[in-house]
């Protein structure tokens, strides 16, 4: 591993200054992805700014919702009584990710910022526009079994690996950041970006901007929720694809409100707004769910090895909605 300078500020502004002034500096929190990438030579920061001593780990009730500090551990959020009561979908998605050990290390902010698990991104002997812009995309004509079916470009077909983020985009979360120009809020759906011509940029964060918290508004999705993750072993594997589903169903089995998002299908957590509209006002039946799944998959396009996702996608959506409705 390349040597690096290590600093451990105790005030957010000092951390922001340290990264804003040095293009080769990176924040480190849990380190579960960054240390991995540094060992492999995929990322080579020359300075690490350890933010673990910043006071950003609280999970608080605030007007209209919950505020989860950027440094709250994935395990702490998944076990938090307020999260479990008010946003059970988030707890389900968190517990579907990684292992208990990793959830004890990984933070909310770091989870959002984890890099793709595309094998071509990880293998420094392969071309990858995300790791080394301009070198090409190894996955486009390569082994693209794990890759995108929505929103890709000819520069990058990688997917975002976070489970937590799929729930957060479905729940209309907002990301609070603080940077050299002060604080700002970013709607979760606008936080991650599509690859376009600049796949090296995963998010819309500006240099030096630090995630401080994620806000989740209160909603009616406290009962009929499910996170359906399809993977190649029962636990501790990245998703082939996943579905976050949340329903508000009235006494006549009519869907009053719905939230639906997919993971493992795009460069960002993929909100399915048109499919949500197709659910509202309809009876909570399998037929309704099938129709919504068909809407959700419009525009999907597969590559050589991931055509299975075109069939797995709608099946997983129906399964997620059925399980949510029965919860």
């Amino acid at each position: 591993m390349n040597p690096f300078q290590y600093v451990r500020p105790t005030k957010p502004q000092a951390a922001i200054d340290a990264v804003a002034k040095d293009p080769n500096a990176k924040f480190i929190a849990g380190g579960t992805n960054l240390v991995d990438l540094m060992k492999r030579g995929v990322m080579t920061p020359q300075k690490l700014v350890d933010i673990n001593r910043l006071p950003l780990a609280q999970i608080e009730r605030q007007a209209g919702g919950l505020r989860i500090g950027a440094l709250a551990l994935n395990s702490a959020v998944a076990d938090d009584p307020q999260v479990r009561a008010r946003q059970p979908l988030l707890a389900l998605a968190l517990n579907a990710g990684a292992s208990p050990q990793l959830r004890n290390m990984a933070t909310v902010g770091g989870n959002m910022l984890q890099r793709t698990r595309c094998a071509y991104f990880y293998d420094t002997s392969m071309p990858c526009n995300k790791r080394a812009p301009g070198t090409g995309c190894g996955a486009l004509e390569g082994v693209n079994r794990m890759h995108a079916i929505f929103g890709f470009s000819d520069k990058c077909i990688a997917v975002h690996p976070s489970d937590m983020s799929v729930a957060l985009v479905a729940l209309d979360a907002t990301v609070q950041v603080s940077g050299p120009k002060g604080p700002r809020s970013i709607p979760f759906a606008d936080f991650h970006r599509l690859p376009g011509d600049t796949p090296e940029k995963d998010t819309n964060l500006e240099p030096g901007e630090l995630i401080t918290a994620v806000d989740i508004p209160d909603g009616p999705f406290t009962k009929h929720v499910h996170y359906q993750k399809v993977r190649e072993r029962a636990s501790y594997a990245f998703a082939l694809l996943s579905v976050a589903a949340a329903l508000d169903i009235d006494g006549t089995n009519t869907i009053k409100a719905a939230r639906l998002a997919m993971g493992g299908v795009a460069h960002k957590p993929w909100r399915l707004a048109a499919a949500e509209q197709a659910l509202v006002g309809k009876p909570a039946t399998e037929e309704t769910f099938r129709q919504a799944a068909a809407v959700a998959m419009q525009g999907a396009k597969a590559f050589k090895y991931n055509a299975y996702k075109l069939k797995m996608g709608p099946n997983a959506i129906v399964q997620a909605l059925k399980t949510a409705a029965a919860a």
Partner: protein, 210 residues
């Protein structure tokens, strides 16, 4: 897996990679340090390279013993425990957070020590497999692993036991299914899973203090 079109990385690939990384680290070091240190580095590889870089002071409590240390920022908690404190019970399996062999407790919570820089744990309490037994009295989980044959080759066992203790303490050992889910971060290539689950259930049902 045989039909999997994604080529598996052979085990020796990692070894080659590690050797390569060591050598390239050495070259980086050589470019940065004065002549006499280069000689020392060439004579005794990794340890001397670490000496050639700035070290950071670090205070830890490991298995109840206070340690005042000085580490290079690049040292992982795993490497610190094994190489500097000679606590070799904690194993290096994959070194990428995928196998769980390096599991230790930090401030009472189980973590992968391979994915964490030692300097980030300043002031924290670490418990390794060496810290579980009280003298000659094995920890109940260690006894249960022996009783139920919860291992074959034994390489994953320290990580399995540290994870198993945490699994019970967290309250995630309520059923076989829950144990399997909450032990999924610890891989056993010998496939001793059934006996590992039995050992954890035994401890949980026995109600002993873990």
């Amino acid at each position: 897996m045989a039909t999997n079109p994604e080529p598996d990385v052979p085990a020796n690939h990692d070894e080659n990679r590690r050797t390569f990384l060591k050598q390239s680290s050495l070259l980086t070091a050589l470019a940065l340090v004065p002549g006499q240190v280069v000689d020392a580095a060439a004579a005794k590889f990794d340890e001397r390279i670490a000496d050639a870089f700035e070290k950071v002071p670090l205070s830890l409590k490991v298995n109840g013993v206070k340690q005042k240390l000085s580490v290079e920022p690049r040292a992982t908690l795993l490497d610190l425990l094994r190489e500097q404190l000679h606590l070799t019970g904690t194993k290096k399996g994959c070194d990428y957070g995928q196998c769980g062999a390096c599991t230790v407790h930090v401030n009472g919570q189980r973590v992968n020590s391979c994915l964490s820089f030692a300097v980030m744990h300043d002031g924290q309490e670490i418990t390794t497999i060496e810290g579980l037994a009280k003298g000659d009295d094995l920890h109940p989980m260690q006894e249960a692993f022996v009783k139920h044959d919860g291992f074959q080759c034994g390489y994953c066992t320290p990580g399995q036991i540290m994870s198993a203790v945490a699994c019970v303490r967290e309250g995630h050992a309520g059923s076989e299914g829950e144990i399997r889910e909450y032990m999924s971060g610890n891989i056993c290539r010998c496939g001793a899973y059934a006996n590992i689950v039995a050992a954890i259930q035994d401890v949980k049902q026995g109600g002993q203090k873990v």
